[in-house]
């Protein structure tokens, strides 16, 4: 998790150099909500270690589907917040040229892969790997396509849409943190 957090911070720094002041602040807020959402996802299993998270999900199932109900709802809220923030973060670039799509693709992969690993993915060495892998690939593809699509869409949308998404994400994360959430 800490390695992924570092990756997001590095990518955020690189992106920030291309943004004007308003988009830079928006991107920073999105980044903080994204990392906070991922932290909640890790707290669901009580470990910041991706191996432990994946191991727990391989045995018990994806964090989003494992009860008690209140915990599953809290985890789903965190996942939704992280997804919204990820979309805003990915879509904060004002324009992408031909070579920029390579970096954008890597960032989409990073966001999609991280969300998948924290909230869904089972461990590779488990018995459920065969079915889990198929489901994971499907979900990863869908998530990636969604993020790319919504990210591009978001670039052409209003500032209002970004702000609403971030406020919703922040409220979800704050709600989970202060009500106890999955911890």
């Amino acid at each position: 998790m800490l390695g992924l957090l570092g990756g997001f911070l590095l990518a955020g720094f690189g992106r920030g150099l291309h943004l004007d002041q308003g988009r830079l602040v928006l991107s920073g807020v999105a980044l903080s909500i994204l990392t906070a959402g991922l932290t909640i996802g890790a707290a669901r299993w009580g470990s910041p270690d991706l191996d432990h998270i994946r191991g727990a999900q391989a045995v018990l199932g994806p964090a989003l589907l494992v009860g008690p109900t209140q915990v599953a709802i809290a985890t789903a809220c965190a996942a939704a917040a992280a997804l919204l923030a990820g979309i805003v973060w990915l879509g904060s670039l004002p324009g992408i040229n031909r070579s920029g799509w390579i970096g954008y693709g890597l960032e989409v992969s990073l966001v999609a892969g991280t969300l998948l690993a924290v909230f869904w993915w089972p461990a590779a060495h488990s018995e459920s790997f065969a079915t889990g892998r198929l489901a994971s690939v499907i979900v990863a593809t869908a998530l990636g396509v969604t993020l790319v699509g919504l990210g591009v869409w978001e670039q052409r949308s209003w500032q209002f849409a970004r702000s609403v998404a971030l406020v919703a994400g922040a409220l979800l994360v704050a709600g989970v943190f202060f009500t106890g959430g999955p911890a």
Partner: protein, 445 residues
Amino acid sequence: MIEFVSAAGLVAGLFSMNYPPVWRALDGDVSRWHLVGPAVAAAWAMVVAVDRGAGNWQTGALVGVAATGMAFFAATGWLVPALIFWGCSSLALGALIHREASSVGRLLGLLAAADVAFIAGVLAQHAEEPGWMLGSVGHELPAGLWFAALVLRGLLAAALIHAPGDGRALPGVPLALGGGLLLLGRIEDPFSQGVVLLMLIVAAVVGVGAVISPDRPPVVGMWVITVSVSLALAVPQQSNRAAVAAILGAAAIGLWGLAEGRGHFARAFLIGLTPLGAGYGALALAHAELFSTAGGGRMDRAALALVSVVAALGVIVSVRVARAARSESWQPLAWLATLLFAGLSVWLGLPMSMLGAAALPLGVPAVVAAVSAIALIAGLAAFALGYRGLAASLWPIPDEPPLQPAIANSTVIPTAVIVPALLVWVAGFAAIVWTTIAGLRVGFL
């Protein structure tokens, strides 16, 4: 002469991190020396940078006494020698401020208040546990007083960055801060989550101030200090990385006025919390510690949530500072010192897991050599692309001023300096790439 003395001091500071002196009054505690070494090295690098060939030996002499006193204070476990060493260091620091700074009343007041808090803490600790040893403090009153001394020393460092004058008191920045941070490492019991949360809130507020005013060095310096101290408070026993981040970041901001036209990215790296610097190491340690206690209550979870906010703020502040072009003038030695600080931050900030990974058998030597060569060639190619301006055409920056202003003054760096510096940079880049690959291969991520 001052250049040679400073170079010797710099090398001694770096060398002593792993080989501290041991004699009757010094216990040779390497853990505290990991903090002292960077502070001493940074102070000597700043002596050369601010001297600018004037040959002001008095500055070097005072820095020498202050640095030696601080280093010996770090290594002694005895009460009387500790007070003597602290006193010598503080007196030399005061003389440096009195001699070289233009506005001394406030600065000396802060220094004196910090010393009073330190001595009061020593007396309080002595009252709790009478004896001649001065190890770690575990009681609330002495710990609180030493924390107050740290806060006052931090304010002194920020004020020194802002102090008017020709900048010859700037070497006092890492020494003042280093002395205060040494006290934090001697506090046994971790602070309550309320204190950690409060410091994180203060860091966030100062960070917002730095986002609004990225061209004001004292505010940016205060951001580095507050965020590092707040992260160190979460894990006081392993506060070295946070202390190194604070010292090197504050030192780089201190030299900002002398290297405004260059070193944008090195400064941004030092004040942000991005990998692979010491700041990120501190962030990772604090995150792991707060994560382990997050089930305790709302205050614990709020502190954990604030770490995410502070990390994102670090990105925004560092980007804003990288683009804050106040002037195009720069002094070569100040620029090189800033690069040195960035290199030190990487060296001392690499997570131990990655260092451990690099020490593992990594496969066939030929493959290792080939990957290293590829990394080196990639680094050289990247430099060539950047040098020819092709990078700008590949990754254009829309509607923004240029990130690297042209050199405006007539100062020219000698080839004998620039070539080794570039080689060191390329080698460092290759090492980072290789370490990352090695870390990925053994499952670091």
